[in-house]
Structure formats: C-alpha cells, structure tokens
Symmetry: D2
Subunit: 278 residues, 4 copies
C-alpha cells in the first residue's frame, strides 16, 4: 500500500476565571503503521505541560493548568500512514476461545455501549449473517441507514441504547451503536478518536475498530470521511476514554480549529477501504 | 502488620448440552502484599485449560470448554496477606494534576457506574467534607445506610443510578454506587472481586478501592466482612471486568461452594481497618 | 355479525398476615356491544366489597380488605358480544383537527408507553405507509415479528422503550410497544385488559385499541387469541390503569385460575378480524 | 377568606411555513372557587378556533390551524379567586379504602412521575413522618432543598427519576418529583398548570396538588410564587396532559408574553398558605 502523508493542525482557545486543569488528548499516536514527525505543541501564554500516557493502549495526553484569562493551545504534526491493508477475503471473527487476552475487555459493556442489553436485538438483525468483515460492514451500513446525523441531537451522557431509540446522533453515537452491536455478537470492538482528511466541516472525529482476522480494523458508520485518511489520536472502550479535552472546573472554549490535509491529495473519497493502523 | 493466612476453596459445577466456552476469574491475584501458594485448579472430567492475564491489571483468568454433561471446577489456594496498613492520618485525595497516568481511567464513567450523571448529587452530599480517607469512609457509610442489602433485588444490567433510585441491591451494587460517587467527586475508584473471610453466607464478594495517598485503599460498603480478610481475585472498572464466570452459550450452574477460612482465626470482625493489598 | 357468548370464570386465592386492602379489576365491562349477565362475585370468607367505577372510562373495580389467613375471590359471568364489525375499507386515521376531545389524552405518552421518545423511530418504520387500519395492522405485525413472547422476561416497571431494546416480553409489553408506536405517529391508542377465548395457557390478557374511523378498534400484537373472543374488563392509558389486582401491602397469591369459554365454539382461531367492542 | 382578583394576559406569536395545527391550553379553568370573566381569545390574522374540553377534568383547550406566516394568539381574562382555605389541623391522608374512585388514577405512575420505582426511596425519607398536610409539606421542602432551579437543565423527556439523579430542573420537574414521591407513599397527586402572580420572570407555571382531607390542596415545590396567587389552567397526571401548546408539525415560537397581576396587590409573598381551588 502506498504511503500517505497527512498534515495535522488543531487549535483550541480557552478562557477561564480561575486556574483550571485540563487534560488534552489531541496528539496523534505513534504506532508501527502511523509515524508522527514535526510535532509541535505550543501553549500561549507559555504554560508547563505534563505529558502522560493513559490507559492500557498508551494514549498520549497533555495535562496543564489554564491560568486566568485566555489560553491558546496549538498542535501540529505530520502523520505518515502506512496502513496494513489486511483484506484478503479472510478477515474472520475469532472464536472466543481464540481471542488474545488483551482483547477480551473490548467485549465487555461500557458506559456508552450497553452491549449487555442488546444480545437479542443484535442477534435478530445480524445473527444469521456470514461472520467476519462482511458482517461488521453490514452493521456499519445498518447504523448509517438507521440513524440521522444531526449535530446537537445528543449530549455527553447519551448512550448507544438512547440512540437506538431516538435514531439520531453524531459521530460518537454512530460509533457507540456500532461497538455495542459488535460486542453483543461477540466481536471485540473499541472506540477510536482522531483526525480525518476530507471531513466536512473539519472537526475531530470518532470512529471504531473491530477485531477481525487478528487485527483491529477501522470502520466509520457515519461514512463522512474515507478511513484511509484517518489519523488516530487514541483508542478506548468508548468516548469516555478519549475525550479531546477533560476540564477539571469551568472553562469556556472560545474557538476551535481542526485540520487534516493530505498535501498530495492521495486520499480520495472511497469510503469502503479496509484499513488497520493499530 | 501481622501476616494473615487465608485458605481458599471454590467449587463450581456446570451442566451443558453442547460444548460451551467459559472464562473463569476465581484464582487469587499475585501482588506484593498477597502471596498465593499451594494453588490447585482441577477440572473434572479433565479438560485443557488456557491460563490468561486479562486487562491492564493482569487479572488471572482460566478459559476452557465445558463438554456436554457435568463438569466440576475446583480451585484451592493459600493466600498469605501482608497488607500495607497505610493509615497515618494522611490518606489524602490527590489533585487531578498529581494523579498518575495509569490511575486516570478510573475517573471515567463505566457501564455500571455512571459518575457523569452524578456530579451535583455527589457534590451536594459530600462536596463540603474534608477530602481524603474520611470522605470516602463517609461515602461508604452513606451507601451502607441508604441501601438495603436484598439478594435478588438487582440483575446483571442494574447500574449505580438504578440502585440510587430503588435503594436495594447486593454487594456489587453497593460497590458500584460507591465507585460512581467517588468518581463524580474526582476520586479514582475501581471494583475488586474476591474472597472474604467471615462472609455469611459464604460467597464470592465485590468490594471497591479508592485511590488515596498514592495507594489503592480497600472499602466495603456492605460491611458484611472485615476488609483485612479480603483476598483479591481481580480489579477493573466495574463488575463487567471481573465476572467470576463468563459463559459463551447456555450452561446451568448446578452447584457452587465458596470458602475463605483463616485457620488461625486472626481475622476478627473489625469492619473499619484501613488496608491496601493492591 | 352473529352474537357470541363467552362464559367467564376467574378465581384468585390470597394469603395475608395482616388486614390488606386489594383493588380488583376482573369484572367484565358493560358496553353497548358487550352485555354482561349472570354475574357473580363471591369472596370466601365473606368480606364486604366496595364496588367502584374508576377512571374516565368507568372501569369497574372491587375494593375489599383481605383478612389474615386465606381468601378466595371468585368471579363468573356470561358475556354476550355483539361487536360492531367496522371494516368497510374505510378505517381511516383522523387528522388531529378532527379527533374528538375525549380521545386526545390517548396521544400523550404514559408511564409504559414513551411515545415522545419514538417519533423518528416510528416515522422511519411506518411513516410512509398508507394511513389507517392497514398501517396499525402493519405495526402489530412488526411488533409480533420483532419481539419474542417470553414469560418472565419483563417486570412491572418494564416500558415500551425497554422492550424495543431487549426484544422480549409478554402480552402487556406487546401492547405497550404497539401503543407507543401508534401515538408517536399521531394515532390515539389505549391499553385494554380482558379475558380471551382460546388463550393458551388461559390467563388474563392485555391487548390494545387504536382509534380508527371514529371507533376504537381492537388489536392483539401477540396473536395469541382471536380478537373476536376478547371480553374487555377495562381500558386505560397503559397497564398501570387496569392492573387485575392492586395490593396495598403484602399478600401471597396462592393460586389463580382464569377461563373464557365459548360454549358454542363459535369463535375460531382467525386472528385478523376487525372488531370494536368499546 | 377574602376574594382575590387576578388579571391574566398571555400572548404567543408563531411563525409557520405550512398550515400547522396547534392545541393551546392557556385559558383559565372554571371551578367553583375560580370565576373567570372578561375572557377574550383573539387570533391575528383571524382563524377559526375549535374550543374543546379534554381529559376527565374538563381542561379547556383551543385547537386551530396556523396559516403560513405569522400568527399572534392573545388571551386575557379576569380570575376571581375564592379559594377554600381548608387548613384546620385536619388535612389528613385518606386510607386507600376511603379514597374516592375518581381519585385512584392519581396514584398510578405516569410518564414523568415513575412512582413505581420509588417506593423504598420515598418510604425511607418520609415513611415515618406524621401523615397528612405536614408530610406533603416536608416532601415539598425536601424537593426545594434538594434540587437546583436551573432553566435549560431539563427537556421535554426528562422524568422525575432523571431529576432525582441530576438534582436540577425547572418548575415542571419540581412538580414531577413531588408528585412521584407522593404517589409512592400512597398520596394521590396531580400536576396543575397555570398562571402565578409575582412569578419572576413571568411565565406559565407548573405546580401540583395532593389529595388531603378530601380536597385537592395546592403546593409549589419551587417556592417561586405564593400559592394564593395561582390561577389554574388545567390539571392532569403530569405535564404531558397540560402542555401550553401542542404542535402537530413545525412552528417557531417567535415571542411569548405571560402576565398575572393582582391590581389590588392583595397577594403578598407568603409562600406557605394552604389553598384549594379545584
């Protein structure tokens, strides 16, 4: 597969009245298939930053204290993607007895993915399908066709079950429903946050991975951007683990800019590539 | 602190019609404060067992396939406990800026601990208290006093919010409510499964840990057994991570025996010791 | 339409430790299309009974105080049904502007029928169908095909939204889901409790009515018994209004018998008759 | 008790693109203790209005079709209040066996008042108190003290249980929680919508009634206005029954004015009067 380059920029401006701690998860992850270079995190006015790796997957986080007044946090980097294109007709689902130990927690229900409530729902819809990539692809299609993408229709406490009833949501909800359905069927699935080339309007994005053929394979039930242009920030059980910003106290986000650009325009709009960058 | 010895036995008998995979989490964990010896896991009829370490904390799990008919799984071990008795008047809550990275995920809401819905609830009740061990102890007391311990009153999908309304539950529910309240206050908290000396009737037990003074400190909101007699099996975000048995298919649990005995009777019924065995 | 006769019997035996009030709703309703004769309510040992009409529809209720020990309550009656067979190809849905005032409350969400959460769900599934009897019939079919009838799978607090996720329930749940979907589409719908000929095993039954063509038309999403053999006890917004027995205190139901027999066997098993007995 | 006069005005301006039906419930109710005179409902541009009485309590409603463009609906009336002041130290709770039949439905759970989930919660908090007016007053105080009044913190699907967890809400939520707790204790309770003198900022208001001493007694858990200045529009099981405006389709509320003025300033700010106007 040809190498792809994506230029990343994000800028968050906050205003606070009292010193307020923030945990940012906006820096792209280093993986064997995603190389990050020219990385720059600037905070203006200058503020000490504590760089952390959180969670079992080593998500990168930056912890700092916003001082009273305005603070602008700028992140930029170049991501070189050499994703494994794993599809060889054999992206099978592993039997439970074959799953690696570190994958098992991604079968458990989580805050926003109540898979324990959806066994029959998922089985009725997808139980008789051929197992493997095609089944997860059909789950993704079903979510895409069943939900309306409606900014503002959900909030931070909205869960997959809420969305299965109201049938509207945003990217995180599309991912949560897909993850919950996968887990209910015995397919390990996790949430991925990141940047996405050709996402319109530009924003951070939430997508998901299913464990197929021994790899974590990327899916996007919103079909808003090509998976080959995704740059991962972090992964977790659901959006709770990879919030772009966690604020300990009150702050006002006064502006936000997110960009992910492929300078060589190699990334077209094909929505159905099969990609693994984990 | 004096060393304590606890003899552990558990026996689970299952009956299945077709080959059925089971993941058991009944073996005691090795930690620097909990030594496990004379360990024996027998499966009758003899069955291959796949020993795993699951999750970021290295919970021990045994995966096997129950064959049609009856299977009896017996586990026994001796646990020597040398818990750190950490209380020196200084079991403080760490500020968010000081928390170690690996502890941060235990502030996130999880399937059964919806701390994101309880910020005001927790703050109204416990926000003005002195921070630290005393506050978590008061949370534990409040849970103990507010909930009725009623076997059968909750099920596998019951959450902390459900229990805060219905005000009845079992050990896992007492732990989930305590964890959710801690997290809502900014105190990392996690679920611990294990054996408990002097628990009546004998059973596996669910308790919780709060991160205080840099240690994971044990609490039991049910006050059904002394924390100094707890032997940990595993820990996780909530009960979803440490189910004693996860069945992939249908099985009947035909009998279950659990024992945790201190042969020297060193463990008395003091319910308020301050213990860390993590 | 030919007259039908149904012999009704029910017997409830309770045991209480202290005097306990009970409200029974087991007596068949008098309507212009349902004549009740030979009615007998006996309580053994003999107990004063307070006969009430509850709710705006005049549901009949019997209120009595169970004395310590055992009490047997027997009800029997003969119902002569002369249902209007309203179907003439014109069982239309009325526009909101044409609905009679007393029908409007049956568009409101109720405890077990959260229609306010299901506008998009209902519209996606049924919004483009021809309005009228056929649409409600298709809703009924969808509920029948989507839910498993599983005794014990739900409880007294289970709602339509719960059931739409778990996809199992009993007669009251099938009715609640149907009602919620109808209301979400602007079709007034209400819950009906009653006796049902040829129901196996015999029991009280819950079905529902939709307001079509100016009549309340009977439907049964469980398809467990022919609607032409339904004898109504009462109607309400949902099952909360027509519980067979409401107990103010603790009582043990030691036995229960319910019978609805057509001595002339005029009622066959046709499941799709169009009937109104309101 | 001295007569009180309240001048009522409300004005709602809507804009629609296509003909859109609206049901308004803004006209004050006629009761033996609340006389309505000088009543005027004007719609500009002139539109036919269908006057209805909905529900078992005879709530007054106006149904009309908004034509494309802007419509202004103005209501004004004079309400003369001669409330019964029922408190003579004997506003007792009736035993279930003594409750009138038409009151029983107000013990049932409703969409926004899930009393069936709160038996233990309500009993733990209020079970040992003296029954009667004082107990309901203490429930009202508890709700007032436990919830923050926060405009925008809840939405049209928010229920009493939601609010008991999040501990914020608006007038309808304060009423719903109070109603749910009353019903859980066996006290019939219902929702009342209306106008309120001295409410700041002026708006329609939601309060509740408990059935005590054979009367429906007014309470306001928000304590935002004196109950002696309440003018009832309608009552129902919860807010679902008495929405000020029900729209069948899309409309924009472009402005809204509500006024309730006592020209003689007889109504002071005493918040604890005991009043019945049902």
């Amino acid at each position: 597969m040809t190498e792809r380059t994506v230029k990343l920029h994000s800028e968050l401006a906050y205003s606070v009245d009292t010193p307020t701690t923030i945990l940012l998860q906006v820096a792209a992850m280093h993986t064997s298939r995603q190389f990050i270079s020219d990385e720059l995190l600037t905070v203006n006015p200058s503020t000490p930053v504590d760089f952390l790796q959180t969670g079992p997957l080593g998500n990168r986080a930056s912890r700092l204290i916003l001082q009273p007044g305005a603070t602008v946090i700028h992140y930029s980097a170049t991501a070189t993607l050499e994703p494994k294109e794993p599809y060889d007709g054999n992206l099978f689902e592993l039997d439970y007895t074959e799953l690696p130990a570190d994958v098992l927690p991604y079968l458990n229900p989580s805050r926003y993915c109540e898979s324990d409530k959806l066994y029959k729902f998922a089985t009725d819809l997808f139980g008789n399908m051929n197992r493997g990539y095609d089944r997860v692809s059909k789950i993704t299609d079903w979510v895409y066709n069943s939900l309306a993408y409606t900014p503002g229709s959900t909030g931070p406490s909205t869960t997959a079950c809420d969305v299965l009833l109201q049938r509207t949501g945003v990217c995180r909800d599309f991912a949560h429903v897909s993850i919950a359905l996968c887990r209910a069927l015995g397919i390990p699935a996790r949430y991925v946050s990141g940047y996405a080339v050709n996402l319109n309007p530009p924003d951070f994005h939430g997508f998901f991975e299913a464990f197929l053929g021994g790899d974590w394979i990327l899916f996007d039930a919103t079909k808003l951007a090509p998976v080959s242009g995704f740059v991962r920030i972090g992964a977790g059980r659901d959006a709770a683990d990879v919030a772009f910003a966690t604020l300990i106290g009150q702050a006002t986000l006064t502006s936000m800019t997110v960009q992910a650009i492929d300078p060589n325009q190699k990334i077209d709009d094909a929505r159905n590539e099969v990609i693994s960058t984990a």
